[in-house]
């Protein structure tokens, strides 16, 4: 009866999901502005402290009836545009005196300020949080309401093609740290009102803007609800990266397989959106999350659709093959040499045993050593500055490859096997980390039990992969729930004019994606 309480809790959660969406508002306690501007200034100073980037200025504005009124302007240097404040706020207020309207003084000021967005706010606490995100607060003497003016200007790096998702034929832009810029990339590609963005703020302290992007009418509403619900239930102090959100909302947080994908490419992101997927952008992080993300997506590349189908299909098969090689080659090698010696091709056995004879270590240790050395070289190469990188590659190639063989520490076939396995992993970079782990696990299993161990471990991993879901969507679709129509674009990519339907593996509301194709010269 132990499981009873679990089920009860589950049902309770299903019936009344705890809405945490307003939790962030909790510390935005209701605190009205004072009508006295000096009191307001003191209060703001008290709340914000004496940080040098906080600028609180008071100045006098002359109104159209000739009377003057004191005005306070609160902004944070560096995240606001001084140009906007000067031209659109200060200059317009000084050059075009606002109306004198004792009851609607705030509205009168609002009319004269010419920034793109402006709203009236009456909660001081909330106003402070907005200011910290780049807004400008304008308070008028004698009024208990303030004006919140849009003047954000974040520092932005130049737009570059992401290093880890390069393509030969395709657009060369990439996401940046500023979500607004990223959203503009998507808008550029999908100019339809159905493209929706929804922003929430996560983190008590960091107040990170998290934006969900989807296409209404294509994305599955149930999936969307699930994503929103998961995000709403996140309650923590700060969000450091999109990877953190990924691990918080995925279905299988303890699995080694990532069930939520990521991309830095706008063209890829918009293709994903058109599939019916949901994207999550996190402020301050150029990596957007893709939900759902299936195993087959690791094998596919955006570039496959840009060029003709034949070579793309060949490359996809190659990627599959590379994945299998990468995870199982060292395991197969040790099973062949230590257990099932019959499976070594007879012509290959002479060079293999000649190489093994001079190595002083057991084969398992030899391979483990090589795997660890490769991991060290790889990890060092990632972190090193480029100037030292070349030195590292010389050390890596020469010491690990050439000298260790001639010194008799490692056999040449072992180096071939391990390095082939590593190089294959780089064909599918999106799950290179999983590949590295799988390789070690399969190797361990088969160094104890031989081919039998390899097969059992592989079966275990396949069973695990089939059981995975990406926010409710089966991870191994279109294979494990078999959708034959999706096979047109799974391992082999059929010609574009045959791919008329959205993938069934990704839940969507709009089945047909290609309505008509031109009839070309009467040939199919």
């Amino acid at each position: 009866m132990k499981g009873h309480s679990h089920i009860k809790r589950l049902i309770k959660n299903l019936v009344s999901p705890r809405k945490r969406a307003d939790n962030n508002q909790e510390n935005e306690k209701w605190q009205p502005f004072f009508s006295d501007i000096d009191k307001n200034e003191d209060e703001l100073h008290k709340k914000l402290g004496e940080s040098p980037d906080i600028s609180i200025r008071t100045f006098i504005v002359r109104m159209d009836n000739g009377k003057s009124i004191q005005v306070l302007l609160l902004s944070i240097d560096g995240i606001t545009s001084t140009e906007t404040i000067r031209n659109d706020v200060l200059q317009s207020l000084l050059e075009h005196p606002p109306r004198f309207a004792p009851n609607r003084q705030v509205e009168a000021f609002q009319e004269k300020i010419s920034t793109k967005r402006i709203r009236i706010i009456d909660n001081m606490e909330q106003a402070i949080y907005r200011v910290l995100k780049g807004k400008v607060l304008l308070l008028i003497d004698g009024q208990t309401k303030g004006l919140l003016i849009d003047a954000e200007e974040f520092q932005q790096r130049s737009i570059q093609e992401p290093d880890n998702e390069r393509t030969v034929r395709g657009s060369n832009d990439g996401f940046v740290e500023i979500t607004n810029t990223n959203l503009s990339f998507i808008r550029e590609r999908i100019a339809h009102p159905s493209l929706q963005f929804e922003t929430t703020e996560l983190g008590h302290y960091s107040r990170t803007g998290v934006t969900i992007a989807y296409i209404k009418g294509i994305a599955d509403p149930a999936l969307l609800e699930r994503v929103k619900d998961r995000l709403a239930n996140i309650e923590l102090d700060s969000i450091e990266s999109s990877g953190q959100i990924e691990q918080l909302i995925e279905d299988h947080p303890y699995s080694i397989f990532p069930t939520i994908g990521n991309t830095e490419r706008p063209d890829k992101a918009s293709t994903f959106l058109m599939d019916g997927r949901i994207l999550i952008f996190v402020e301050g992080n150029p990596v957007s999350l893709v939900i759902p993300y299936l195993f087959i997506d690791n094998v596919q590349s955006i570039e496959d659709y840009h060029s003709r189908p034949y070579y793309s299909s060949f490359i996809r098969i190659l990627r599959f093959f590379a994945f299998i090689i990468s995870i199982s080659l060292p395991a197969l090698y040790i099973s062949a040499l230590n257990f099932q010696k019959e499976i070594i091709p007879s012509d290959m056995i002479v060079p293999i045993i000649q190489a093994r004879e001079i190595v002083p270590f057991p084969l398992a240790m030899e391979i483990i050593m090589m795997i660890i050395m490769f991991e060290i070289v790889r990890e060092a190469g990632v972190r090193l500055p480029e100037q030292i990188g070349s030195a590292l590659s010389i050390v890596g190639a020469l010491i690990l490859g050439e000298v260790s063989v001639s010194a008799g520490l490692v056999g040449a076939p072992t180096i071939v096997v391990v390095s082939l396995s590593y190089i294959s992993a780089f064909v599918i970079t999106s799950i290179a980390d999983v590949t590295a782990l799988l390789r070690i696990l399969l190797f361990t299993s088969s160094s104890i039990f031989g081919l039998f161990g390899l097969i059992v471990a592989l079966m275990g991993f396949f069973a695990h992969m089939i059981s995975l879901t990406s926010l409710g969507v089966p991870y191994m679709a279109p294979f494990a729930p078999t959708y034959f129509r999706d096979w047109l674009d799974a391992v082999i990519r059929f010609p574009t004019r045959l791919l008329k339907h959205r993938k069934k593996s990704i839940p969507n509301q709009r089945e047909v994606k290609v309505q008509t194709v031109p009839n070309t010269a009467g040939k199919k």
């Binding site: 007879s346 045993i353 190489a355 001079i358």
Partner: protein, 397 residues
Amino acid sequence: MKKLIMISSLLLLSACWNSIEIDNEALVHGVGLDKSTKDGQLKVSVEIIKPTNENGGTGGQSDAGQHIILETEAETLLRAARKFIRTAKRRLYFGHARVWVVGKELAEDEFVSHLDSIRRDQMLRINSYLFITSNDSRDILDTSTLYENLTSTELVSTLEQVKFSLSIMPIKLYEFFRLIEGPLENAYIPMIKIGKEKDETMTELGGVAVIKKDKMVGELNEIEAIGLGWLIDDVKGGAIPIPLNEKEKLSYEITKAKTNIHPKLQGEELEVTIQVDIEGTLADNSSASLPTKKWFIEIENKINAFVEKNIRETLTKLQKDLKTDITLIGDKTYRSYPKEWRGIYENWDEKIFANADVTIEVNSRLIHKGLLNNNRTDGNRKRPYNNPYRFFTSLFR
């Protein structure tokens, strides 16, 4: 936690640890079996891959004799394998044994029972090749090689070229056992011997040993072996020489061959019709005669006669001298008359097969018309249809 302990204790319960480092084993590539001088004992010799070479094992430089030959005497094969540990200092691994050579003396003395552990033991590969030698089998394994490091490897690579030669009939262990356990219990095994090329000794394949029940009863020479090839429908290629007269000789290269055997059993009387259909090209034509329809028929008849004579010689030897049926005749009869077979198989070899009336029909065909013309083209060159410029020459005539 409980589960974890349970699962990890499963690892301790596993009984047989069969992880053996490859450098702790001696890999046998070829095995020779001979009759020992001691009574009832086997002389077993093995060819082991030498794990180190003079260059420290980094490269695959082929120094002559990259193998170790060991020899021991024991009652059984398995006993010998254990005995070898004393001399080899490592456990012998027979999983890569690709060649089994049986000495003729042993072969003539119920040798099949000695091969039993090949099938029974789990680590032996059954697709290795079997030979019988009239020399000492140890010497066969110890002959110098032309290309490979190991004599056995070279023997195996020879057998992969077999389709270009008519006289070699390789047999794998499982094929041998299939024959031995078939309806007739007879088999054939290719012979191997040590030949001499200038001063070097090297292995040479030729001839076929005839196995009746479980011992070798005789031997077919190379020409008779070709006849056996036809009889067991195992001809895949090869050349047939056709001498027209002293000077003019032709070669006929077989591209396709099929033997059909139609037995007719009446009581204990057997009538067999052997139909051989051959397709082939004229590979070599040194005659000066013009290729005409009549000439082709003449050649085809000569081929037919040659093949028929070849088959007849082999068949006569098998029927009269050896009284052993290693052809497909017995097998076909068994399939056509499965009920009658029970009654006759006891005296099949001695009576029915030996006295069978065999008709041989050979039907050969020359294909590839382009290869059928005369050997010299001088005469043809001036003929108008061979002149590519005949249109222009007619203009300026």
